[in-house]
């Protein structure tokens, strides 16, 4: 069964008196355990599409079904619930709580899911172990390197066992070597059966994915499956 089923969605923003067609007519399906990269120059509508996929925003017209839920008709509260349970976000700027340690940052989605303290502590710690940060549990973001911060953010995305991981330029704020390590981590996460959607404008980052969707002017220009060209040098997850 498809996790994501999008049919003819469009998104129109009003900027002053002018209408901006960010997405014109986009249809796509994403299956379980796919590794998709969404590419496109700025203004192509890839950010808008990512917001739709992440249930942060609803389309102006068209159908968006996430699993059995009809996202296009959801209220704010339902959207919040689905983001909490089904989607793990990884941002370019990490978006960690500056004054909280790694464990607290990772357990945040579980707080909103209403998981009791002891259980969520345990799950947060396990998620941090999974991304290789077992010795950085109680460090605050400013005590961590960029790569480590992004690992905390990935742990936060993984901790609630979401249906998809949505990563928006996850290596954009990292040097290329650290970026490579993060992409290796995504590779492992995908190998473990997770569904990953990667938004990027860097060709060499998109190369890690197995399917590349190219957007232009609010339309899908090209949607193709690609050969795996990337094999990580070292396994990150033991």
């Amino acid at each position: 069964m498809n996790i994501i089923n999008i049919e003819h969605i469009a998104k129109v923003y009003k900027v002053g008196s002018e209408e901006v067609h960010a997405l014109r007519d986009v249809s796509l399906k994403i299956d379980k355990n796919e590794y998709v990269a969404i590419m496109g120059p700025s203004g192509s509508g890839k950010s808008t599409l990512m917001n739709m996929l992440g249930c942060l925003d609803t389309p102006t017209s068209g159908i968006y079904d996430f699993k059995s839920f009809s996202v296009s008709e959801m209220t704010d509260n339902d959207l919040a619930k689905i983001r909490n349970k089904e989607i793990g976000f990884v941002f370019q700027t990490f978006n960690l709580l500056a004054r909280s340690d790694a464990v607290h940052n990772v357990e945040l989605p579980l707080i909103y899911a209403g998981i009791p303290t002891a259980e969520r502590r345990e799950r947060a710690k396990q998620a941090l172990i999974d991304v290789g940060l077992e010795d950085r549990m109680h460090h605050k973001p400013n005590e961590l390197s960029g790569g480590q911060r992004q690992r905390v953010a990935i742990a936060r995305a993984l901790v609630s066992n979401p249906a998809i991981i949505l990563a928006d330029e996850p290596t954009g704020n990292l040097d290329s070597k650290t970026g490579e390590e993060i992409m290796a981590l995504f590779h492992d996460i995908h190998e473990k059966g997770n569904t990953i959607i990667l938004v990027t404008h860097e060709e060499y980052i998109a190369e890690h994915a197995l399917r590349i969707i190219r957007l232009k002017d609010g339309l899908i220009e090209k949607d193709e499956n690609v050969e795996r060209r990337f094999v990580p040098k070292a396994k990150v997850i033991a």
Binding site: D57, D76, N95, R99, Y112
Partner: protein, 411 residues
């Protein structure tokens, strides 16, 4: 029920983290509420204290006592009209006493202010009350030592005095006033009685604790001419149910003594404690409203401070709010988070303010009557919580309705 408790608990934890993250800011904001709550609590304890003291003092006057006087205590009549009334003389008192059947006791009163000395101790400007032996029956005085002066002493205008507890304290710190001879002005008086504390600061010089009581004849002999100034006639009814009848009788007798025709108005006033009570209530009512308004204003300023800082805090944490929403915080969760934050700040400020107010009023109690009420304590906590919620409402709503996409992009 459980999810609400869970959310409250988590919300409090988040609020506490946020407050700890900005300690100085939170402390400064708390200061506003602290001052406001302290002021409100202090004001209400002070008002309550004055009130208690007044009620205690007024009950010493007795509710069943009439004061027949040239002057009305409180009146809408113009002052000059009363000034032109005839004086009440001792002769009026004698005739009144002969004719009145209902009263329990009748006493003439004439006052003076004098300096009182014992050895090298001195009390200046002391209120002297001259009367007869029945005067004590028109009051509810209790005695610490000795007695009131007797009928014989009164009628013979002996130089005997009964002193109030404060005067006893200042002239005889060792409490050995009885049978000592004091100088009132330049005249020697022997102390035959010391009053127990009657306890009313509010009545000021009229407070019996600060008075000296002597036979009325000695006043006329030593301190003022019997024809200078007017005499008040204190009349006590036989019991509280007889006040109205006694008053009617007194009015009739006074009119007869004064030879008033039936169409002439009274040229005297019959005053009652009740009038004092009414006057007090209206004055204190105004003080109370004004005081609470002014102190309430400082609380209001504190509330604006909280609202201001909460708006700043929401703005500053826009991205954090965006992130929290992206990973699943609902509108009401975000709303609750900021409401809890402002409530915790206010509640802490209020509690500290309350403690400060309690300490301050205990200290003030040395000079001024104060009285802490439990309802004020509960009210203060309630008010600070309410302030937190009200001033947090607008900023929390701003945070709750933020669009996660815009909030995440906010620089």
């Amino acid at each position: 029920m459980k999810p609400i408790f869970f959310e409250l608990n988590e919300g409090l934890a988040i609020a506490w983290r946020a407050i700890r993250a900005n300690k100085i800011r939170a402390a400064l904001t708390m200061l506003g509420i602290f001052i406001g709550v302290t002021a409100v609590v202090m004001m209400s304890t002070a008002i309550k204290g004055i009130d208690n003291s007044f009620q205690k003092g007024i009950s010493a006057l007795g509710s069943d006592v009439l004061y027949i006087d040239k002057w009305a205590w409180f009146s809408n009549d113009e002052w000059w009209k009363m000034r032109n009334r005839r004086k009440i003389e001792m002769e009026d008192f004698y005739r009144f006493k002969e004719m009145a059947k209902l009263p329990l006791a009748i006493a003439p009163v004439s006052n003076s202010r004098q300096t009182i000395k014992y050895g090298d101790r001195k009390a200046e400007g002391i209120f002297l009350t001259g009367s007869n032996a029945d005067y004590v029956k028109t009051t509810n005085f209790t005695f610490d030592q000795g007695r009131f002066f007797s009928e014989i002493e009164g009628n013979a205008s002996r130089n005997v005095a009964v002193i109030g507890s404060e005067i006893s304290k200042s002239l005889f710190p060792r409490g050995d006033a009885l049978d000592k001879t004091i100088k009132i002005g330049v005249v020697n008086f022997k102390i035959v009685g010391v009053l127990a504390e009657q306890g009313s600061v509010v009545l000021g010089p009229f407070n019996p604790d600060n008075q000296v009581f002597i036979p009325i004849g000695t006043i006329f002999k030593n301190f003022r001419s019997r024809h200078f100034g007017t005499v008040t006639i204190n009349v006590r009814a036989a019991n509280p149910n007889m006040v109205e009848e006694t008053k009617a009788e007194a009015e009739g007798i006074m009119r007869k003594i004064r030879g008033l025709e039936h169409d002439e108005p009274n040229d005297f006033s019959i005053n009652q404690q009740e009038a004092l009570q009414e006057q007090y209530n209206s004055v204190v009512g105004v003080i109370q409203i004004a005081g609470l308004f002014i102190t309430g204003l400082s609380l209001f300023v504190g509330a604006i401070g909280i609202m201001n800082i909460m708006f700043v805090s929401v703005k500053e944490r826009t991205r954090e709010i965006g992130l929290r929403k992206a990973i699943g915080a609902k509108r009401r969760t975000i709303m609750a988070q900021f409401l809890l934050e402002s409530s915790v700040i206010c509640l802490l400020g209020g509690l500290i303010g309350l403690i400060a107010a309690v300490i301050l009023s205990l200290m003030l109690n040395q000079f001024f009557p104060t009285s802490i009420q439990y309802d004020v304590v509960i009210l203060a906590i309630f008010i600070s919580l309410l302030t937190g919620i009200i001033s947090g409402l607008a900023p929390a709503y701003t945070a709750a309705k933020m669009d996660p996409v815009d909030a995440l992009r906010y620089e």
